[in-house]
């Protein structure tokens, strides 16, 4: 079965000042699957993820070369509108970061920026995506309360709803469950699995078991290099590279 590729990374190099953090990465990320980026701390997982929606641009002293093609378009190309690239992708960060406004406004924030003014339509969008993120029942009676009063687990699902509300095709997760309690983690994990029906999901995780549970495709990074990538089953049951094997067995971490 041939899969459609959604994101193609071609010879991507990232430097922080003099530090070469990603070294010649080339990789195809399949459409509507969960791709997990694994590897020890400091190996460049988050950098790789952030290069996909150009959030790296905001980091001081960073230099990127190479190509990242999303639906065939190079997002580092000269005529690219960064905001349009980012709109295509929802982001879940390590620590859920709600915006300093009400629950409703957190979800409506993106759509409003992109020009939705009609109140009924906004209500509809907010409701829809809170349902999609699995948060609606918990917050429907207090939509206008500050988002900061939600529990951390709820905040992460709110961030998911906020990301989904701008109609992305891709969901990026940077260790999205690392700040959450086990129950909330499970909730978010299940959501990601549900969402792959409609979205391409790319998740950075340092939890191998999590990658095993949810990933269809696995990418192993070590010290800024792409060591091995392939379907999850293959990587987990029969890693070809000795370094991947060493990581799986906990010899390197």
């Amino acid at each position: 079965m041939e899969e459609r590729t959604h994101i193609s990374i071609r010879d991507l190099n990232v430097y922080y000042g003099g530090l070469h953090v990603l070294k010649g990465i080339s990789l195809d990320i399949p459409d509507r699957k969960i791709t997990a980026i694994i590897g020890p701390s400091g190996c460049g997982k988050t950098t790789l993820l952030k290069s996909l929606n150009r959030l790296l641009d905001a980091v001081d002293g960073v230099r990127v070369d190479g190509k990242v093609l999303v639906d065939g378009e190079d997002i580092y190309g000269p005529k690219v509108e960064v905001t349009a690239i980012r709109k295509k992708m929802g982001l879940l960060s390590q620590k859920p970061q709600v915006l300093p406004m009400s629950i409703f406004d957190n979800v409506a924030y993106g759509p409003k920026l992109h020009g939705v003014r009609d109140k009924t339509r906004l209500d509809f969008i907010v409701r829809n995506h809170l349902v999609e993120a699995g948060l609606w029942d918990e917050v429907k009676d207090r939509l206008h309360h500050p988002a900061s009063r939600l529990s951390v687990g709820q905040q992460q699902r709110l961030c998911l709803a906020r990301g989904l509300a701008v109609g992305p095709e891709i969901i990026l997760g940077d260790e999205p469950t690392s700040a959450l309690d086990p129950q909330s983690s499970q909730h978010v994990e299940r959501k990601l699995v549900d969402l792959k029906k409609d979205y391409t999901v790319v998740v950075v995780t340092h939890i191998l078991r999590q990658a095993r549970r949810i990933a269809d495709y696995v990418v192993f990074l070590y010290l800024g290099e792409l060591v091995e990538h392939g379907p999850a089953e293959e990587i987990f049951t029969n890693p070809k590279n000795p370094r991947t094997r060493a990581y799986m067995t906990g010899e390197i971490s």
């Binding site: 002293g61 929802g90 970061q97 900061s148």
Partner: protein
Amino acid sequence: MKLETSPARLRHRRMVEASARVLMIGSTALVIGSLLAIIGVIVWKSLPALNLDMITRTPKGGYYLGKEGGILNAIVGSLYLGVGATALALVVSLPIVLYLNLYTKRKSRIAGLTRFAFDVLWGIPSIVYGAFGFVLMMALGLRASLLAGIITVALLELPIMSRAIDEVMVLVPRELTEASSAVGATRLETALKVVLRQCMPGIMTAILIAFGRGIGDAASVLFTTGFTDRIPTSLLQPAATLPLAIFFQLGTPFPEVQQRAYASAAVLTLLILLISVASRLLIKRLTKHVIK
């Protein structure tokens, strides 16, 4: 080998602990004491002169010799000046601080230089601002007027306000601005809709500090705003201010008029106190959504 503290050493440490505590409490008491003492002295000295006329009437002929009238001209003048200058300073401060925090790199030279400039400007005595404002006023072809005063006092307030807002804005976590960028917000949208909201309590405090400094300053308005017995009806007219009213009345040889100087000081202090309390209440409402 077991480590043991000798009784003498223990006594010594206890004593140091106790004396440090006394010093700390003493210093704290001194601050609160000074505030109470200042208010006490002013109120006590102004009691004979405090009456409704004082705050509802402008000076009549011979007011400065002890005849009838009040300082309504200075109260209104100071409020106009304080509000005007603070608004102007805010309008200039916000773009600067947003630029420093969202548009330049953390360690950029221009940001460092700007912050250094603010620190220097903060330290410049207000009489220098007065002299500079005077030169500026002449260059602009203005006479001593409310407008010239507002510009001068805004310059005086600018470094205070910018630095105070900057202090809170550097604390905005990068993840928060990233969260906003990630849904496709431009830098300006992130600045106005997210960063300003998150900094609202700090901005309110900065406004308050700058306003207090501006409304209470005498030296910078001496040459630029002038002084008049009338309430100004246009930006181009001179205006009276409370600090100068205090200064002039205190300088007369008449005890009655000197009492009125204290009454003016009481009014100024009360004004600042009222505004502080009001803005604290306002801050409570504005912080509702702030992310801790």
